[in-house]
Symmetry: C2
Subunit: 190 residues, 2 copies
């Protein structure tokens, strides 16, 4: 096979799924003041990604650290975009970088529906986001066959030693539902 | 600040720097049969990224595991793209996913100019690429102030336990030169 280099791009644009594009029109500039509200928002993203058949059961968002204004969203798009890095956290961070046009998200926080994998833990670190909040523990993802990769056992302590805040897990029924829906729909595990 | 959600994209396209777009026209379909040739290629990418002032001293590429045909390239574009995930390895993998239009790069290998950070180690794992070859040890990057994040001390053994091949480091003068050039040009460390 001869792969032709016929484009001028490293990476083509990754579009929102249609349901998320519609949703973004409704929630621009919204602030979510409580941790619970922010977690329910990312769990709802994860659930809709499954129910709309646009990806796997993971959602994430970036908020301003003080006003809690929503500045970026993400749902897992690995299969849809044919991009293995397109985890919910990476998409939310990329979305926030794009909207804010800054390479360092120092004043922001990342909220994820589930404990981040090794790649997303690194993505959080390099984004310069100061706070990570996550809902379900990694065991919820592993229970239906997903893998987190090999993080150091004390990954949270190591991030805290760098002056970062890590809050979680906050397990909940709303957090588990996207995973059970995905399993019931026989969604692809990768 | 009220951030307007006025686009329909998670992530806009990331273009090649001009010099790399020109270079890609010359090397489409090329095969590089020796590890040394492949490492010299990624070191040259890293060096040109510095000398052209288009980013930091990191280069990477994806090759077919048997024919060693080049199927994707990457240079660090964190500052240029305002995207903290845009490390050379992540760009090379994203480029290969795009060109091949597959979410799993099972038959391919990733060659990086330097030991991958925690994020890129995870990116390698999720890409399903079978082999990682890297040139400079992490100490070369750390010597001018770059950080790899917190990988498990036995990160290579953990990848090998998953059946993946990890070859490196292969330190060299050509591998160190992009870093000394970057330091001499007072390039941004982040």
């Amino acid at each position: 096979m001869n792969v032709l280099f016929d484009t001028s791009l490293f990476l083509p644009a990754i579009p929102y799924p249609d349901w998320l594009r519609r949703k973004m029109g409704e929630i621009q500039g919204v602030c979510m003041s409580s941790v619970e509200e922010r977690l329910l928002f990312v769990h709802a993203l994860a659930e809709q990604n499954v129910s709309e058949h646009t990806g796997s059961p993971f959602g994430a968002a970036v908020f301003h650290g003080r006003t809690h204004e929503l500045v970026g969203v993400g749902v897992n798009q690995v299969i849809q975009a044919n991009q293995s890095f397109a985890h919910a956290e990476m998409m939310a961070l990329a979305n926030a970088h794009d909207r804010l046009q800054v390479a360092e998200l120092t004043d922001y926080e990342l909220v994820s529906s589930c404990e981040p994998c090794v790649m997303c833990t690194g993505g959080f670190l390099w984004s310069k986001v100061r706070t990570l909040i996550y809902g379900e523990p990694g065991t919820t993802a592993r229970s239906i066959g997903f893998d987190e990769g090999d993080k150091p056992a004390n990954w949270e302590a190591l991030l805290r030693q760098r002056g970062l805040q890590v809050l979680g897990p906050f397990p909940s029924e709303q957090g588990k539902r996207p995973f059970s829906l995905y399993k019931a729909s026989q969604g692809k595990i990768y």
